[in-house]
Structure formats: C-alpha cells, structure tokens
C-alpha cells in the first residue's frame, strides 16, 4: 500500500478548493436533529452538512451519541425532531424513502454482522440480486471484483465463521460496496478487532477514501483521522462540541472538553 498523500491536502470545509475530490453537492444534511431514548436526550440539536467526497471522522467518549447519530442516517434509529436529508431524499416515516436511502447508503458495523449461513460470495451478491434486481451472474462478478479490491478473493466460497476478524470486516466493507453506495457509514469498524488486524481494515478504508468515496467514520483511530479525514467532529453528551480540519483539531483543540479527551487518548 502506497503511503497516502491526502494528509497534506486536508483542509477544512470552508477553504476546500485545494481538495479537488470534494464537490459542492450536498450529500447529507442534518438540521436540528434531536433524539430521545425514553426520557434520555441522546442527540441535541445536531446540525451537520456533508458534501460529496468528504471524509468525516466522528469521535468522542462512549455514550456521546456518535453511533446513534450515524445510525439515524439510515433509520436504524429513529430521530424524533429535526430533518435529515440524504441525497435528495427526506428521511421520514415513508417506507419508500427509507428504502431509497438504504440503497444509497452503505454501512459497516463494529461486529461485522455478516450473514453466517451464507458464503462470503453469497453475502456480497445477496443485496444486489434481491434489492437491485441484478442478474445473479453479474452480481457475482461484481462481488468477485470487490473481493479482489479488499484482497481476499480466495475466501469467496468460505463461510464467515471460517475467517479472521479482519477478513470478516473487509468482507463486510465489500458487501456494502457491492450496492454501489453514494455514502459509506462506518460504526467503529476496528473496535472489535485484534490489534494486528486493524491495519488491514484501515488500509482498505484509506484506499476507499482516496478513490473519492463520501465517508462518515465513527472511530477512535486518530492516525486514520489524521491521514484521510478532511473534517473531524468531536461529540460529547449528544452535542457536536467541536468541528475542524484534522491538523487544527489535533494541534490546536479549542474546547476544554476536546483537549481533555485528546489528552486521554493520544
């Protein structure tokens, strides 16, 4: 894997012309989004706009609502107030809209969530066949292409239970990519992995970022944030506390809460 060169170009959204891959097209827009679990207010007035091609890293202590926020984006969690726009579709209770959004938004989970009763190839081809109505042969050819991209084509006919954690997570990434999504959401993709497997997954994600995929990653991998992110968001207690380009975020954090957090994890 070649040493990524994006880091030198990372700039904040405001002065983004240097980063050619980011367009003006709005991919995701959260407008005053609020969510409660019972009485517990998990998300408080979240405002966020993500443009096509942006790589956003969301970090924060556990319980800060960062996972909940990205899970709201494809309706794995329901928000109660505010508006979420994904692509040109408003996320509301309309099942059609939800299905449209889910087709365009890929998601990678902490625990991979591969389908254990299907082979790797079947895992990848399932959604294209049943959701996009792609012919089986074509779906499997695409699946093999993505398996090669994540460097495990030889595991195509094994079951997920026979793979290592890192391999499973790479399969999970490939499974999402097979749907040809506009945006990829990563929910702590490396948190459940053994240390020696983290790199192989991050490498795949870095490559994906370099190809211009719009990404929102909840992660504690600060090296990854420095390398590929063009914006870092820090959340605490359901709020976005700080939002900046990675260089300034790590070298010159503004809020006290951010400084404390960074001092504990770096």
């Amino acid at each position: 894997m070649s040493e990524p060169t994006v880091s030198e170009q990372t700039v904040s959204e405001q002065n983004s012309p240097a980063d050619m891959s980011i367009s003006d097209e709005v991919m995701i827009k959260l407008d005053n989004v609020n969510k409660w679990y019972g009485d517990f207010h998990v998300l408080k007035d979240i405002n966020l706009t993500v443009h096509k091609g942006e790589r956003i890293v969301v970090c924060g202590p556990s319980g800060s609502g960062k996972s909940t926020m990205i899970r709201c984006l494809n309706r794995l969690e329901e928000h109660q107030k505010g508006e979420i726009l994904v692509g040109k579709t408003v996320l509301n209770n309309d099942l059609k809209n939800i299905e449209t959004i889910r087709r365009e938004v890929g998601m990678v989970f902490q625990h991979f969530n591969l389908f254990p009763h299907l082979t790797v190839l079947e895992n990848l081809a399932l959604a294209p066949i049943w959701v996009r109505k792609t012919p089986r042969a074509e779906a499997e050819a695409t699946a093999m292409k993505y398996l090669e991209r994540v460097k495990i084509p030889d595991q195509a006919h094994k079951y997920p239970g026979q793979l290592s954690g890192g391999q499973q997570q790479r399969v999970a990434i490939a499974r999402s990519l097979c749907m040809n999504p506009e945006v990829m959401l990563f929910d702590e993709p490396t948190s459940a992995l053994d240390p020696e497997m983290i790199k192989e997954v991050l490498d795949v994600m870095i490559e994906l970022a370099q190809e211009g995929m719009t990404m929102i990653c909840v992660t504690h991998e600060m090296g990854f944030a420095k390398t590929v992110a063009n914006r870092v968001i820090f959340m605490d207690a359901g709020q976005i506390i700080e939002e900046n380009n990675p260089d300034d975020f790590f070298d010159n954090p503004q809020s006290e809460r951010t400084q404390l957090f960074l001092s504990q994890i770096l």
């Binding site: 494809n74 998601m107 389908f115 254990p116 009763h117 399932l126 239970g161 999402s176």
Partner: protein
C-alpha cells in the same frame, strides 16, 4: 535471557488413555464404585433383555391364520400378520387398496428424493410434493370423480389414516406457525394482539378438548344442512393446535438471532419479507430444528387421540382388534406392534433432524 530453537517432536498419547481398554477404563471402571455400578447394570440388562429377545424372536410364532398356530409360548405375531391389512388400510374397501398403495409408493419416492443429497431440481420436487401431490392424494383417497369409487372418510383408518393426519398436520402447521411467530413479533399492534390471543387460546386448551369440541359441539352450532366432515374437523383442530405450539418454538428461534443481523439486512435495503425469508428465518429455523422436530414428533403421536372422537387410527384399530373374541389375550403383541410402528416413524424423523443439523452447520457462532 532464554532462546529456544529446538522444536519438540509430537509424541503419541499414552496407550492406556485411548483405544478400547482406555475407553472402558475411563467410562465404565474409573473407580471401584463405578465398577460395581457397571456390573450391577450389566446384570440387570442381561437378565431382562435375554428373555425379552427370546419372547420376541426365538419362542415366537409368525405364520398361521388363527390362534391355534401359536404354540411356542412366546409372542404370537400371527395376530398381527393376519390383521395386517386392516391395520394398514382400516375399513377401506379391499378392491381399492391399490389406491393407497400407489400413494404410499409416491410418498416414499418423494421422501427419498427430498432426503437424498444428490437429487437434481429439489425445489421443483418439493413444490410438487407440497402442491400437486396433496390434491392428487385427496382425489385418490376420497374418490368420487375420475371414475374412482367414492370412499367416505369414516372408512379410512389404520396406519394410512395416522399418516394422513400426521402429514397434513406437519405440512400445514409449520408455515402457519411461522406466520403466527412473525405476527407475534410484528410492529403492528393489531396483528400482534391477534396472533398472541390466537396462540394463547389454542395452547391453553388440551388437544382432547379441541377434538371433542370439533366433533361434538361444532355441529350443535352449525345449521343442519352443513355437514362438515368429521376427519376434516379433526385435521383443522390438530393443525391449529400444533401451529400454536410451532409458533412459540419458532419465536424462540427468532429471538436468538442477534440484532446485528436484522440491522445488516436493513442497512442493505432489504424489505421486511426479504429480510425474514433470506436472512432471519433460515438462521432461526436452523437453530430451532431440534424444537421443530420435537413438535413434529409430538404431533405424530398425538394423532392417536382421534380415537376418542371415533376415528380409527392405527392405535384405535389395533385396540378394536384386541376385543375380537377370537384373539383375546394378545394385547401385549398388539400394543408392542403399535409402539414399534410409531417408534420407527418418530425415530426416523429424529435421525433426519440430526443429519440436517450437521449438514447445515457452517462453523460459526452467529454474530
């Protein structure tokens, strides 16, 4: 500092822990107390199994046409062989036995084709077995059209009736149970309440009561003209009763599927029915194979309860034969035969379920 460069060779395990001697020592004679128990149980088995074997096989009579043939002092299987036709076909007219025989043959072929691994086009065969075959079987058994003599259901009996009850019950209660289980976990409160009430109502009543109500009470409330067939009523009762049980077994399986599986299916954009059919149910049913087969076996044996509403299944017809004055006193043979036939069917189901579990195991803890 320690550096270890030599690789130790693999040695065979100590002799006394493997092989027959090792097995005996570990399992039967590990302590003096266990040795004593082994000898005691061995003696009990020896002193009961040998006479039983003698009674069943050695001192028994197999051929003849009346009780006079039974002279050896052991089991009198003549009683069974003489009445075998009745035990299998019930009161079905003898000239029409071929109809049942054809169905038995087809059923056996279908089961072999579906169980054997190498069969091509299994899906088509299964579709045939579940759609065309039951209709065909009904017309063959009931007759009254296509030039076949009409044989009313009260003439059906014996093993063939038991199989009709069991197969219809099994084939119909599984899909019904799946729908009820999904309904009970549905987000829609009307569907959920309906399924919950249905399940709890049928599960809370003994099957005998249901059969009684189906055969005695239902006709009281129905207008005279509507003559609901008694067998059909029993079939509906058994199916609905078992589907309630099946629903709870399957619900257990659904709950064992991790939330992540639902979320992954959702995130990929699968609709509710596709998510259930492609992701959740295949895994849930696999976990629940032991429970599902357990319910099937219970259903198979429960079919003998229809004797209380006057249907002559295998058990009922053997019991009736026992009261024949010509054959008084052979109840042990009769019941042993019934038990053996039931056991063959139930044990086959059990073995098949174990084979399925092994075959479907894909080496994972579900994540």
């Amino acid at each position: 500092m320690i550096i270890n460069d030599t690789k130790l060779p693999d040695l065979p395990p100590p002799g006394s822990t493997t092989g027959v001697v090792g097995w005996l020592r570990k399992n039967l004679f590990s302590t003096p107390f266990y040795s004593l128990l082994t000898l005691l149980i061995g003696y009990i088995l020896f002193s009961t199994l040998i006479p039983a074997f003698q009674w069943i096989f050695i001192d028994s009579d197999w051929v003849g046409d009346s009780r006079d043939a039974c002279t050896s002092g052991g089991a009198c299987w003549v009683f069974i062989t003489v009445r075998m036709d009745q035990f299998i076909y019930g009161f079905y007219p003898e000239a029409e036995y071929w109809r049942i025989n054809i169905l038995f043959g087809m059923l056996a072929l279908l089961i072999v084709a579906l169980v054997y691994e190498g069969t091509p086009k299994k899906g088509l065969i299964a579709a045939f077995a579940l759609t065309i075959f039951p209709i065909f079987a009904f017309y063959m058994l009931y007759g009254g059209s296509f030039g076949l003599t009409l044989v009313e259901t009260h003439k059906w009996g014996g093993l063939s009736l038991t199989l009709v009850l069991a197969i219809v019950g099994i084939v119909a209660s599984l899909p019904l149970g799946i729908m009820l289980a999904l309904g009970r976990r549905s987000q829609m409160s009307v569907v959920r309440s309906f399924c919950t009430v249905f399940i709890e109502m049928w599960r809370g009543v003994p099957l005998i009561t249901i059969l009684f109500m189906a055969s005695v009470m239902l006709p009281l409330f129905m207008p005279e003209e509507i003559d609901f067939d008694k067998l059909l009523r029993a079939l509906i009762g058994i199916t609905l009763f078992q589907s309630a049980y099946m629903a709870e077994v399957i619900r257990g399986g659904l709950q064992a599927i991790p939330k992540g599986q639902y979320e992954a299916a959702d995130a990929l954009g699968l609709s509710y029915w596709k998510k259930m059919a492609l992701i959740v149910l295949p895994q849930a049913l696999k976990i629940m194979i032991p429970g599902i087969v357990n319910t099937f076996i219970a259903l198979f044996k429960d079919t003998s309860l229809v004797l209380i509403i006057g249907l002559f299944d295998l058990l009922a017809i053997v019991q009736a034969a026992l009261s024949d004055p010509k054959w008084l006193g052979y109840s042990i043979e009769g019941y042993a035969f019934v038990a053996f036939v039931f056991w063959i069917f139930c044990f086959s189901m059990s073995r098949y379920s174990q084979y399925l579990e092994r075959k479907l195991h894909t080496g994972h803890g579900a994540r």
